[in-house]
Symmetry: C2
Subunit: 452 residues, 2 copies
Amino acid sequence: MIKPRTPAGTLELLPGEQRAFNHMLEVIGRNYRRFGFQPIETPVFELTEVLLTKTGGETERQVYFVQSTGALEQGGAPELALRFDLTVPLARYVAEHEHQLAFPFRRYQIQRVYRGERAQKGRFREFYQCDIDVIGKDSLPVRYDAEIPAVIHAVFSELAIGPFTISLNNRKILRGFFEAMGISDGEHQALVLREIDKIDKRGAEAVAQTLKGEGFNLPHAAVEKILGFVLRRSSTHDSAMAILAELKAEHPQTAEGVDELAEVLTLIKALGVPENRYALNFSIARGLDYYTGTVYETTLDDYPQIGSICSGGRYENLASHYSKSKLPGVGISIGASRLFWQLREAGLITPDAQSHMVLVGLMRDEDLPEALAIARELRGAGIDCEVQLEAKKLAKQFQYADKVGFSYMVLYGESEQAKGVVSLKNLATGKQVEIARGDLLPCLSQARDWGL
Amino acid sequence: MIKPRTPAGTLELLPGEQRAFNHMLEVIGRNYRRFGFQPIETPVFELTEVLLTKTGGETERQVYFVQSTGALEQGGAPELALRFDLTVPLARYVAEHEHQLAFPFRRYQIQRVYRGERAQKGRFREFYQCDIDVIGKDSLPVRYDAEIPAVIHAVFSELAIGPFTISLNNRKILRGFFEAMGISDGEHQALVLREIDKIDKRGAEAVAQTLKGEGFNLPHAAVEKILGFVLRRSSTHDSAMAILAELKAEHPQTAEGVDELAEVLTLIKALGVPENRYALNFSIARGLDYYTGTVYETTLDDYPQIGSICSGGRYENLASHYSKSKLPGVGISIGASRLFWQLREAGLITPDAQSHMVLVGLMRDEDLPEALAIARELRGAGIDCEVQLEAKKLAKQFQYADKVGFSYMVLYGESEQAKGVVSLKNLATGKQVEIARGDLLPCLSQARDWGL
């Protein structure tokens, strides 16, 4: 006998939770499609030499390698490895199918990725990413950067997990500002930006201490200037535009980034995103050197400790390792497994409060044909429905319905048959009514209107 | 520069094909839910010792092992392996979460599985399986076997890939018949059944020759009797019931299986499956020893060469390796990747003939706010919609629309603005009309009624 258990670092759900998780993925996918993003899926593994184009990085050390039994016996370097994000597979996909794709290429991809993370609570080795990217050929106007927040807004509005803020910045503004300050060495700038990026987590005071302290040794005045710059936040659309104008006047080196961001903000407004849902935040740098223009982070207003639930930005060239074409792009990623786990921890996930599933009970075996006929009618109308195929005590059937998470139960027994009715019970409220057999479908379709 | 390419044996699709494939998976999943099956997902990898409970089998030799960079450096046996089907993960899942599940446990699972197959056309190393199973605790009445064909019928009716037949048999009938014929040794019986299983592919005559020839050496009369038995087919519900009655009279040893199959057929009819969609076929044995009662295969009437597109059956005990509980079950699997590939080869897949996606064109940059407003309105009504964010020549925009696969294009340029209308073009028919701006949404929502 072998002890059944899942590998560490995986998020395996019970069916009720899985329904809630699937609902999250469906909302994300539906809204991605709504904005004209096209689906793709890539294999879970890539050829090792294709996947690992760079050497050394942290991600590289977290890669899972794949070998068939035969390959394992023969020894040698593994030919395959599991994808660790959806960006490298996208780059490979676009380069491989370049001539069959229409550009700008707008794709969404919702799949699991794999990282050999140290096992700890809330850290996953297998997790879903939900990505969108728009890839231009040769060029991609900055207005594409404005569409992304509109998609983020649509997704998180429908997910209804509370108020959220999409924070925007532009790497060119950061670069211009720091160069004007004399922090122009790329590596030095990256180190400072990494600290700045921590302001929302560590607080401004702690970050200031780090920048003044050993390693950075920035003078007090410089640190004050940096903080004065990065701590500015907009509260309305107009205040955001005013801050940008101010910034451009004070620091001419930031002009290019400021102009881009102003265009993005103007279009975000035209796209109908409410102005309390987006804000400037110059402390957002995003760890990756990858991003070159607009960058995004999204946070839940009531749960700042969760951190960014959706991040991304603009990049210069997607597939330089695989193609001579210049393929600039902009995109974001939602880490759905981590988000789901965090929302569940915060009590924001209720397993399928709205399952709308119906259980047709069975009190006497002889009623099975009628129960099946009822189910057939409901299914024909698009209602998810199970029939108790074995007559059991009613208490046992209710227990089963509760454990699975049904919303309604239909009962048709001796008394119902005599009266020519069926009983319909709302399992959440406990309310039970007798209705004419012919009213069952309209009643279930409009349960709320019927006071059920 | 690295040549971008996918690993052999994977099915990577272009976006239009991916939409068609996703549609297939959605239809399958929706119909599974319609019958009260609950979703689960399991990790792509399992602990090796959990996954590989038996030693030796062919499947075992096709397993892919997974190792992190660290584990690979350390050497030693791989701790993880990719799932090769959804049945072993289901067994592990049910055993691991037994006390949190409601029984009979009805789950569906649509995920990819991995097998180190020899690379050849139409053979995949990564492919989707779409499984349903009902798992009982201690026992599971045979009536559950009848629900499965109703689900198969619902799925393939909605997929609309042509007429199909669900063939049914019962392993107890086969066992009873062969035991009565003196072919009672388990191994011998399995070998004969394996040949019988090939009748639909090889033809009865070829199989008869094999059974008479070296290795089997069955006498002519025995082979005739076997063929006479396994070649019987029903054409209607009544003829199926008559064949079963006849069989029971002729071969009393088949009685148990006959009674089960008769009950299953009676309920299939009560579930509303049309009688031209199911038939008895005593040559179906299913390769696996795993099945003990009802077995199913489904074939497309017009494409017999494709073989079974959906198979499964009843088994005695799901999780004997992981649990002391007796967990009998019944289930089926649809190999969606292979099915999609075969339908595409047969010309039965048209990439998203009904995409319903709308492209809002842009002739002048100044019209962008209006184009965005139109898109916002369409999206609000649930229509998938992209806006051309850059003004381009109309021919280029049509070319893009065609390549992506849009169904409609909305145009709002100088002349439309002057007249206070928008132009709506059906990209399949080429028909273009000018309509009042306010009519766009009702027109698109009911495009067919409007003669578009």
